[in-house]
């Protein structure tokens, strides 16, 4: 065999090794050729198989065996160098105590009863004229906040949403300010979703930040009619958004969208 034939044969056997389908004779041949300096395994071949494998896995439908996640977390112990901050640990540490108390049925019922009595007592006994009001609510509705942003932001971006497929009847727009890192979507005729089944999720495309769209948060539409204003919750700084895309995802949203249902997009 020529050098090229030997290399080609090794490559084919190596592909078989990566696919896990070498028989005993082929494995002998692979082992012999692997010792030949002309033959070298190519990691790219294995990466190709891994990319294919990952591409076809629908991880949204995967149910893990009970307890596996906990076991995996335990398995990090030997590799952890830096734990989360103390504050977080303390917060986490409090949960088991409360769980312990509440897991005791008698205690839980006693606490529930106490709260019920206190609630009734406050409702019927307290004098509204003497009660001390809390500080005036500083919470602004998304509608008002959106109007304020539109009125005040000097670098305001406005872009209309265009629905597609089953969502062609929707309309809306997105307003965004890079300076304020604040934005809102006004959406009309977007179907009401059942949050237990599906949730809408926003993606922000910012080429200056990353090639990958940033998760803009999940949201629900509860009103069949009228316009719903949704605040954009960007976990990362957005510098120059070029597009806003809404998809429909599983409850809680996803980190990797399969883009199976793209509801609408706005190009800024």
């Amino acid at each position: 065999m020529t050098d090229q034939e030997i290399i080609s044969r090794f490559e084919e056997l190596d592909a078989g090794r990566i696919l896990g389908d070498l028989d005993t004779g082929e494995m002998d041949e692979w082992e012999e050729l692997a010792r030949d300096p002309r033959c070298q395994s190519d990691l790219a071949l294995e990466l190709t198989a891994a990319a294919l494998e990952a591409e076809f896995q629908d991880t949204n439908k995967i149910e893990l065996p009970p307890g596996l996640l906990e076991e995996l977390e335990k398995g990090t112990a030997d590799f952890v160098v830096e734990k989360p901050s103390k504050k977080v640990e303390e917060t986490v540490g409090e949960i088991p105590l409360w769980r312990k108390i509440l897991s005791d049925k008698d205690t839980a019922w006693a606490i529930a009863a106490l709260f019920a009595i206190l609630f009734v007592a406050q409702t019927f006994v307290s004098d509204p004229s003497t009660s001390t009001p809390g500080p005036p609510s500083t919470q602004v509705s998304p509608e008002e906040a959106s109007k304020t942003l539109v009125a005040e932001a000097k670098d305001l971006i406005r872009a209309p949403f265009e629905g597609g497929g089953d969502y062609k009847g929707m309309s809306g727009e997105v307003v965004w300010s890079d300076e304020r890192q604040e934005g809102y979507m006004s959406l009309t005729n977007l179907p009401v979703n059942d949050p237990k089944s599906k949730q809408y999720q926003l993606w922000i495309v910012d080429p200056t930040r990353d090639e990958k769209p940033v998760d803009g948060g999940v949201f629900d539409i509860g009103l069949a009619e009228g316009t719903t204003v949704i605040p954009i919750r960007n976990p990362l700084v957005i510098r120059d958004p070029k597009a806003f895309v809404i998809t429909l995802e599983q409850p809680g949203g996803v980190v990797v969208s399969k883009q199976e249902i793209v509801v609408a997009a706005a190009n800024s």
Binding site: E12, A15, G16, I18, L19, G20, D21, T24, M27, E31, D42, L43, A44, L45, E46, L47, T48, A49, A50, A51, L52, E53, A54, E55, Q57, D58, T59, N60, L64, P65, L68, E71, L72, E73, G75, F79, V80, V81, E82, P84, E162, G164, W203, P207, D210, E211, K212, P213, D215, L236, V237, K242, V245, V254, V255, V256, S257, Q259, E260, V262
Partner: protein
């Protein structure tokens, strides 16, 4: 499918001017924590990054491992071994060569295939390299790959019909070789050859055109 087509339409009409590769469509939060690479933080031993990795990639790893390992208890062991590999080899990850998903998928496949080899009365077989020995950085430009989702699909679409069908049966439907033989009526040797040569062809397509190992590269 209709939605996918629509999204492609949106890309063409509206987003293409961003010059972005949207095919991976990964949230920034997936790959970054505070703008830092997730696997880089894992390599530094940060527990929060490891917890996040587990939550994000356990379903993928489980899914891949289950394709090769039928026994549930054994599959759980292989998943745990895969994550140990990940903690050890995260420092060798190079984002210019593979995506996180491909990297994790590679580790899962290695572990799963090794397990099946050990179970299949082939004691002489050398195990595939441990994750710890994996060094993407040392592979240099030869290993550079375009493993983004859409690019992989496009490359797959370019395969000959008869090869593509076997790839879909194997990677998408999860069929074993004997199952593909039964389904297609093809001899086992043909199925194996098509898969192997198809994998090599896909590798060639996914490699950037300027890669020194790409046979399509001029003067290579």
């Amino acid at each position: 499918m209709r939605s996918w087509v629509f999204f492609v339409g949106i890309r063409d009409r509206q987003i293409s001017n961003t010059g972005l590769n949207l095919s991976l469509f990964v949230s920034g939060a997936e790959t970054d924590i505070g703008g830092r690479d997730l696997l880089a933080l894992v390599a530094q031993g940060k527990e929060s990054a490891m917890d996040r990795c587990i939550k994000e990639y356990a379903p993928l790893v489980w899914s891949i491992v289950r394709r090769y390992v039928q026994n549930t208890s054994s599959a759980e062991d292989v998943v745990q071994e895969t994550f140990i590999d990940l903690w050890r080899s995260a420092k060798r990850y190079d984002s210019s060569i593979a995506t996180h998903t491909t990297f994790v998928g590679l580790l899962a496949r290695r572990r799963a295939i090794d397990h099946t080899r050990k179970e299949s009365r082939r004691p002489r077989l050398e195990p595939m390299p441990e994750g710890d020995s994996l060094n993407l950085a040392s592979e240099g430009p030869n290993a550079l790959m375009k493993c983004e989702r859409e690019v992989v699909r496009q490359a797959l679409a370019k395969l000959p019909e008869e090869t593509r069908e076997i790839f879909i049966l194997h990677f998408d439907q999860g069929m074993t070789h004997p199952e593909i033989v039964e389904w297609t009526g093809l001899p086992l040797g043909t199925v194996k050859t098509r898969l192997r040569r198809g994998l090599i062809e896909l590798r060639n397509q996914l490699r950037p055109a300027n890669s020194p190992s790409n046979p399509q590269t001029p003067n290579s």
